[in-house]
Amino acid sequence: MDNANYIRYGLHLQGLSAYENDIPYIYNLLRTMKQAQISLDAFPHLNTEIPITIVDKELLL
C-alpha cells in the first residue's frame, strides 16, 4: 500500500475523511515524526521507563 492509500485507509477506519489536498501535509507530518523517532535509538532502555500520564503526580511535584 502506498503512503497516500495508507493515510486514506487509516483515517477511513476511524470515520475520518481525507481531503486529497491534505494528504501531502499529513504525509510530511508523519515523516517528521518517523524521522524524530530515530532519537529513541540512543536510549535502548526507554521501554523500561514508566510512561508519564496526565494523572501522574510525579510529573507535578
Binding site: 476511524q14 475520518l16 501535509y25 515524526m33 526507554l46 494523572v55 510529573l59
Partner: protein, 464 residues
C-alpha cells in the same frame, strides 16, 4: 507629558493607588488605541468596550470608597479567546466555536477580575491554540506591530501583538508547545509558561491536556509577577492543579544574579539563524558581566523532544477533536486539520514511547538542575518571518523549526520565562528563555527582572 499607554502595569498601579490616575481614564486611552489600530493589527476577536468601561467605573468607585484590591486594581487586561468568559463568546479562534458562550468564567479569569482587572476583550489567536504563526482565516491574521508584514507568532499572537502595540496593559496566554513564549519572542514582550498545574487550566479550552498551561504575558517582568500572583493557586476542580504554597513573587524581585549558575544545553545551540546565534552570544556575555557563572551542558535526553512533542500534541489534540473531525472537517483550516489528522494516524506504542521519553527528559532536567540554578537557550531558533501566501506550509514549517526549542518544558512540566534578547538586523525583536526547575517561578522572575534592567531592546516600539 508621558503617554501613559507606555507605562507598565506596576507603574500604572501605583498611579491608580495614589489616585493620580483613574481606571476609567486609563481604560478609555487603551480603548481609543484599540479603535485606532486594531482594524490593522487584528489582536482582538471580540472587543468589549462597554463591559470594560463598566468594570473601570466600578473599580473607580471602589477606590473612592477606600476599597483598594491590589496591584491589578483598574488595570486593563486582554483575555485570550480560549479562556471561558461567562456570557461572552469564546471562539478559541475557530469557526466551530464561533457561537460558543460559556456559562462561567475560567477560574483564572475570575481571579484576575476579582483582583480588580478590567477585561478589554477576547483576543485573537491561532486557531484552537494549535499553530505557531498567528494566521486565522476566520477572524483575520494578527499582524506584528514591529512590522505588519510579519507574523506575531502563535498561538497567543493577539496577546503578544496587543502588548507590543499598547492595545492592552496585560494579557493572558496559554502554552502547550510554545504558545506564550514564541509570540512573546516575536513581538518583543515577556511571557511566562508556568510549572504544569500551577495555574488552573479549568475553563481553558484544551489543546493537549497533558501539556496545556495558562500564564501571564506583559511588557515587563514585575508585571508578570503581579499577574502570576493572582492567577496561580490550587483549584480543586482541576485534577492536575497543584496544591502548593504560592510565594510572594514580587518580594526580592530585584535580587541580583551574582553567583547564579546558568547552564546552556548544547542542544539549544544547534540550527540557529545567524542573528539568533550572534545575539545569544552577546546575551551570555552580558549575563556573565552581571555576575552569573555560565557553562555549557550536555542533556542528551533533549533529543527526544521532537518525537515526544509531535506525538503527544497531535495525538491528544486528535483524540479531543475526533467528533468534530468526523462530522465537520471542513470547519478546520487546512494547517490545523492536517496537524490533528496526523495525530489520528500515530499508534498507541508511539504514544506510550512519547510518554516514556518525557520521563527520561524529566530525569535529564533533574540531573542538570543539581548542577545549575537555571538553564538558558534561545526561545526559538529563527528570526520572525514575513507572512507567506503559502500559510499552511509556513505554519507547519515554523512548528517544525520551533517546537524542538519550546516543547521540552511542556513535556517535562517545568517553567520557562521568555524575555526579549535583542533586535535582529531588520530591527525585529528576538527572544531567549530562562528555564527553571519545577516551581522555580520566583527565581525565574528575579533573573528575568535583572535581565530586563539591561534594556535588551534598546528602544521602545512606537506604533503611534
Amino acid at each position: 507629558m508621558t503617554d501613559i499607554s507606555y507605562l507598565t502595569a506596576t507603574e500604572l498601579g501605583l498611579l491608580i493607588k495614589s489616585r493620580q490616575l483613574s481606571p476609567v481614564e486609563l481604560t478609555k486611552i487603551i480603548l481609543d488605541r484599540m479603535d485606532k489600530f486594531d482594524s490593522i493589527l487584528k489582536t482582538y476577536v471580540t472587543p468589549l468596550p462597554d463591559l470594560a468601561l463598566k468594570q473601570a467605573r466600578a473599580a473607580e468607585e471602589d477606590l473612592m470608597h477606600g476599597k483598594y484590591k491590589g496591584p491589578l486594581h483598574g488595570i486593563p487586561i486582554g483575555i485570550k479567546d480560549n479562556y471561558y468568559t461567562k456570557g461572552i463568546r469564546t471562539t478559541v479562534g475557530s469557526k466551530i466555536f464561533t457561537d460558543f458562550i460559556p456559562d462561567q468564567n475560567a477560574p483564572s479569569v475570575e481571579k484576575l477580575l476579582r483582583a480588580g482587572g478590567i477585561m478589554l476583550g477576547k483576543q485573537n489567536m491561532h486557531e484552537l491554540a494549535a499553530g505557531s504563526t498567528g494566521t486565522n482565516p476566520f477572524f483575520g491574521n494578527t499582524r506584528n506591530p514591529w512590522d505588519i508584514q510579519c507574523m506575531p507568532g502563535g498561538s497567543s499572537g493577539g496577546g503578544a501583538a496587543s502588548l507590543a502595540a499598547r492595545l492592552t496593559i496585560l494579557a493572558t496566554g496559554t502554552d502547550t508547545f510554545g504558545s506564550i513564549r514564541l509570540p512573546a519572542a516575536m513581538c518583543g514582550v515577556y511571557g511566562l509558561k508556568p510549572t504544569y498545574g500551577l495555574v488552573s487550566t479549568n475553563g481553558v479550552f484544551p489543546s493537549a491536556m497533558s501539556l496545556d498551561t495558562a500564564g501571564p504575558m506583559a511588557r515587563s517582568v514585575p508585571d508578570l509577577a503581579i499577574m502570576l500572583q493572582s492567577m496561580a493557586g490550587f483549584d480543586p476542580n482541576d485534577p492536575v492543579s497543584l496544591n502548593v504554597p504560592i510565594p510572594n513573587y514580587m518580594k526580592d524581585i530585584h535580587k541580583g544574579m551574582k553567583g547564579l549558575k546558568i547552564g546552556i544545553p548544547t542542544y539549544y545551540l544547534q540550527g540557529l539563524d545567524p542573528d539568533i546565534e550572534r545575539l545569544f552570544k552577546d546575551a551570555i556575555e552580558t549575563l556573565s558581566y552581571l555576575g552569573a557563572q555560565i557553562k555549557e551542558i550536555e542533556i542528551p535526553e533533549l533529543s527526544l523532544s521532537t518525537f515526544s512533542g509531535y506525538v503527544t500534541v497531535t495525538g491528544e489534540a486528535s483524540a479531543f477533536h475526533q467528533k468534530w473531525l468526523q462530522t465537520q472537517p471542513e470547519d478546520y483550516s487546512t494547517d490545523i486539520r492536517t496537524f490533528f489528522l496526523a495525530g489520528a494516524l500515530t499508534n498507541t506504542p508511539q504514544y506510550i514511547q512519547a510518554q516514556q521519553a518525557r520521563r527520561k527528559m524529566v530525569k535529564g532536567f533533574q540531573k542538570a538542575f543539581k548542577e545549575f540554578d537555571i538553564l538558558l537557550g534561545p526561545t526559538i531558533p529563527i528570526t520572525t518571518p514575513a507572512y507567506s501566501e503559502y500559510w499552511v506550509d509556513q505554519n507547519l514549517d515554523v512548528i517544525r523549526r520551533c517546537l524542538p526549542f519550546t516543547a521540552p518544558v511542556n513535556l517535562t512540566g517545568t517553567p520557562s520565562l521568555s524575555v526579549p534578547m535583542g533586535l535582529d538586523q531588520r530591527g525585529l525583536p528576538v527572544g531567549m528563555q530562562f528555564i527553571g526547575n519545577h516551581l522555580s517561578e520566583k527565581q525565574l522572575l528575579q533573573v528575568g527582572n535583572i535581565w530586563e534592567s539591561t534594556d535588551p531592546l534598546r528602544k521602545t516600539l512606537k506604533t503611534a
